[in-house]
Amino acid sequence: MKISYSKQDRYVYTGLRFFSLVVVCLLIAIIFQLFKASKLAFDEFGLSFVLSDFWNPVEDEFGALAFIYGTVITSLLSLLLAGPVSIFVAIFINEFLPKKLASILGVFVELIAAIPSIVFGLWGLYYLAPFVKNYISPFLKKYLGFIPLFQGTSFGIGILTASLILAIMIIPTITSVCREVFRSIPNLRKEAALGLGATKYEMVKLAIINPSFSGIMGALVLGLGRALGETMAVAMVIGNNPVISTSLFSSGATMASVMANEYAEADSELHLSALCYIGLLLFVVTFIVNLFARTIVWNNSRKSRS
């Protein structure tokens, strides 16, 4: 069984093409199914579904705005918290730690990604939520209470706690991608910067962070993608209340969490369909966010090339 050299390439090409097509077909099939399943709700509510925050399964009235708001706000907040931390951790591990220690710490960070989200959820419910209620919220209220974001009563469960959990969950993703990006910078440039008399801080700024802007953006997008879709951990600590509130202490609900919460026991067709509609919207939101981040990356790489 020896394949001739001339055919080898062709077989590999056909095989690879097949597998990439499978991925594309899967995606199309999922979108198609979502469309089909959400048709009933789409016919009933149309686009006003996106603009209404009224969600009442008893009366079969549905609107997704509160869930879209919850998803976007928790994801962005978690990115805001996790982004800087992850970038600093990546720089610290790569540039400041001795090689052996670096690889050990690297493994530790990556192990966070291996913890199942239900464990994060339970930990959040039993330990983080009381901690937020007793320490973090009073602290924020005392010093930043004049901002509407930090007003109102905190029960420990809510948008802030959900964002904190999400931040912890996306740190390993962002950190490991950032580390790869930083590692791809040639040593020559770092040495050149140091040779020109740069301090270590200046070297990190000039030779590492500035040229890897698009890479860092890519890492952040990956992290954001995980935050947008995270379900179980969020559902356990967000309070699952479809309301739009300016306070971070208030409870909220995300698109993924409402699907997880209500799909299994939904018994009206319209309710099921509305949940699928939310799934479709989650898809759209993720797509828009990704597109937005990609544009930043493209613009930047074009700028740096010219």
Partner: protein, 331 residues
């Protein structure tokens, strides 16, 4: 080598023929007792292998309609719409009773708080917001109640527990009935949503001034403060296996239907938020599989009932069980 393979294949296929597999799916609330029944029944009758998946009442009904399972289980009776979709008429068979317990954080309130149905509805409507409200004080005159906001904790996921609880509130409060209604998931006027009975239990236990509703098993196992609820006869009753069973004592089943509500029933020691949980059995031509299912249900309603109490489910009162058994026999 080859003969070994054939032999093992043969053995496997014989095994397949000998064991009859029965698939069921549905409610997660009675999962503990059903899995106990299944494991005990497999000791009695070794030729039957029953598999029950607790995917939720709604999922169980959908699978029964699609005929991917042999029987289903649900907490709330099937809706008319769903009944029409099924190919065969479906019989509701009550299996055990469950209850919804109102739990609260008693750190500064103390145990055995007394609550009436209308006060409970007002708390969950957000009309009574403080623990030292006149209405609560009136029911507990000797108690020193704190001047603190009540935190309402409720289920976030759709569940039979919510359905039973909201049916009760609709029964005792006209305002609840017209504004909110009953269902597995609601548009809640106040409070925060926790996931699952365990989520509500955790929140109520760790948050001072919280009140919520959970099933009896979670309340008993977690040693949480529970209220004494005023029943139809005006007595304050705590939820227990006995008081729940007692609410079904005067239960009048019509000839072929066991789906009448158990909410707020008469009887001085009846706990008002009690409910049956059901097996759903398609009524069709009897084959060997169906008669094995009948046998299993017969066993569950007679010998199986003694396992209920240890798992915090209330067994069916004898008169109800007899009626149901007679009905199954008549099929």
């Amino acid at each position: 080598m080859k003969s070994l393979l054939i032999l093992s294949l043969l053995g496997f296929s014989i095994n397949c023929f000998a064991v009859l597999k029965i698939n069921g799916a549905g409610a997660s609330f009675p999962y503990a007792i059903y899995s106990k029944w299944i494991s005990e029944y497999s000791k009695v009758n070794k030729d039957i292998q029953i598999n029950y998946q607790s995917i939720g009442s709604g999922g169980g009904i959908r699978q029964l309609i699609k005929e991917t399972v042999d029987f289903a289980a649900t907490d709330a009776p099937m809706k008319k719409k769903d009944k029409k979709k099924a190919k065969w008429p479906v019989l509701h068979i009550p299996t055990v009773l469950g209850a919804v317990v109102v739990a609260y954080n008693g750190d500064s309130i103390g145990k055995d708080l007394k609550i009436s149905g209308s006060v409970l509805a007002d708390i969950f409507l957000g009309k009574i917001t403080k623990w030292n409200d006149k209405a609560i004080k009136g029911l507990n005159p000797k108690r020193n109640l704190p001047d603190q906001e009540i935190l309402v904790v409720r289920r976030a996921d759709s569940s039979g527990t919510t359905s039973v609880f909201s049916s009760y509130l609709s029964d005792v409060s006209q305002e609840w009935k017209s504004k909110i209604g009953a269902g597995k998931s609601l548009r809640w006027p106040t409070g925060i949503g926790a996931k699952g009975n365990e989520g509500v239990t955790a929140l109520v236990k760790q948050t001072e001034y919280a009140i919520g509703y959970i099933d009896l098993a979670h309340a008993m196992k977690n040693n949480i403060y529970t209220v004494s609820l005023k029943n139809k006869d005006g007595k304050f009753v705590k939820a227990s296996v006995e008081t729940i069973s007692s609410s079904a004592k005067s239960y009048q089943a019509s000839a072929d239907d066991f789906t009448a509500s158990l909410i707020n029933k008469e009887g001085s020691d009846s706990y008002p938020i009690s409910a049956f949980t059901y097996f759903l059995l398609p009524i069709k031509e009897k084959d060997s599989k169906l008669s094995e299912i009948h046998n299993f249900f017969n066993w569950s309603l007679s010998d199986g009932q003694k396992y209920a109490k240890d798992l915090y489910y209330a067994p069916l009162p004898k008169n109800v069980a007899d009626k149901v058994l007679k009905k199954i026999k008549g099929l």
